[in-house]
């Protein structure tokens, strides 16, 4: 029994679904080989000064509970399969945010032998946040832009 979403009633439902997904993006964090500069900035976004709970972002433990995978690091060879497995175990609709210049382009570890390079070689990435490490405001801005891009296609379809 699939609800066809093109009728007026379906359109309203679609808007509610997108509204819910945009306003409660639960996130998990995975460090695939980063120097943990980006990771402490990600944890800093949870703390009082930046507090992402204002946007509904909650750091969850299990990939089953999460919509957004915040990933850092240039994906070392050992982390490659684990990163793919964590991404697979997340329920749809899921998004990936690559934080830091290591995640986007391998950064300073480009060319090291046990480093794959950037994250989009392993899993599809929706938002890139450059910086070594990016400031907490930059990370929040990246996630908020990702959420805004979710709303954009809903409008575009009209």
């Amino acid at each position: 029994m699939s609800v066809h979403t093109d009728s007026l009633w379906g359109g309203a439902l679609e808007k509610i679904k997108t509204w819910a997904r945009v306003n409660s993006p639960w996130a998990i964090h995975y460090n695939s080989g980063s120097c943990n500069g980006c990771d402490i900035e990600i944890v800093a976004t949870l703390t009082p000064r930046y507090d992402v709970e204002r946007f509904g972002i909650k750091l969850q433990g299990s990939p089953r509970h999460a919509d957004v995978l915040i990933c850092t690091g240039p994906v070392t060879l050992q982390s490659r399969d684990r990163l793919k497995r964590i991404y697979e175990q997340m329920p749809d609709p899921k998004f990936v945010v690559a934080v830091g210049s290591c995640a986007t382009s391998g950064g300073v570890f480009q060319g090291c032998y046990s480093v794959v390079g950037h994250i989009d070689e392993v899993i599809p990435v929706n938002a890139y946040i450059p910086g070594c490490p990016p400031r907490p405001e930059a990370i929040i801005d990246g996630v908020v832009k990702l959420l805004a891009s979710l709303q954009a296609p809903a409008k575009a379809k009209k």
Binding site: I16, K17, W19, A20, R21, N23, S24, T47, P48, D51, E53, R54, G56, Q60, G61, S62, R64, H65, D67, Q89, P91, D92, P93
Partner: protein, 304 residues
Amino acid sequence: MRALFNLLFFPGGLFLIVLALAYEWVDRKLLARFQNRIGPRWFQTVADIVKLLVKEEITPATAHPILFGVLPVVAMAGALTAALYVPLLGFRPAFSFKGDLIVTLYLLSLLTMSIGMAGWNSTSRFTMMGATRALTQLFSYEAPFMLALLGPAIVAQSWQISEIVAANQGPWLLLTQPFGFVVALIGLMGKLEMPPFDAPKAKTEIVAGALTEYSGRGLGLFHLGKEMELVVGLTLIAALYMGGIANPLEFFGKTLLLLVILSTLHAILTRLRIDQTVGLWWRYGAVAVLLQWLALIAWKGIVA
């Protein structure tokens, strides 16, 4: 038709969901303010539940599919039914009969049982440990919690909630039975696995305890069931120990006061290990309640 209305809208169903979400928002906002963060927006809990309902549900290959799907439904149904017999919003409970206090208490613990079952249902080591801890904690706080709630029943010589409330209009039972009140409140925290008793879903040890494998709907229903249990538990304690609830204003006043106490304890205490919680309940919880009972029996013996 009144029964159908009661089931679907007033004390049961829709109203309870809205109230549960509101209380969850108050709890999260209080915790955030205690940690001087801004905390979630007012519609956050509604967005969370709707998102969980429309998310994909993954059934782990190693879990029994039917059981995996049914358990959240049983959990939420248990919490919903318990609300029918409790004086929500100060009005007379939807239906009251002799001994409904005990039925409500057992319905409340149905949720923890189903969480324990859900944990046992898949081979993920986190859910197994979470389930064992949940059931161990259930067994350790259940008895003192029930004894504490039955204290006022003994004073009123009946097991019907409305009769108990009617009989105890005098001084708040909070003052005459302090041990009972404290154990009941702390017991409610144990039942809802609020920190310092959140060993069964300790994030940094066993990820999310018994609910690690649940995503989407299952998680949403379990979460909603637990919030409803918070509302029902608060109403029960307020009705029995704080001189009954006459009108909605009094209902909100008393339950929110209790919620503030719970949130403060939640913010200032460290999570206890499971053996420490069991030890706490044995040494202090059970003994305090038994002393309370002895005092009651002695007082009943002399007066009656």
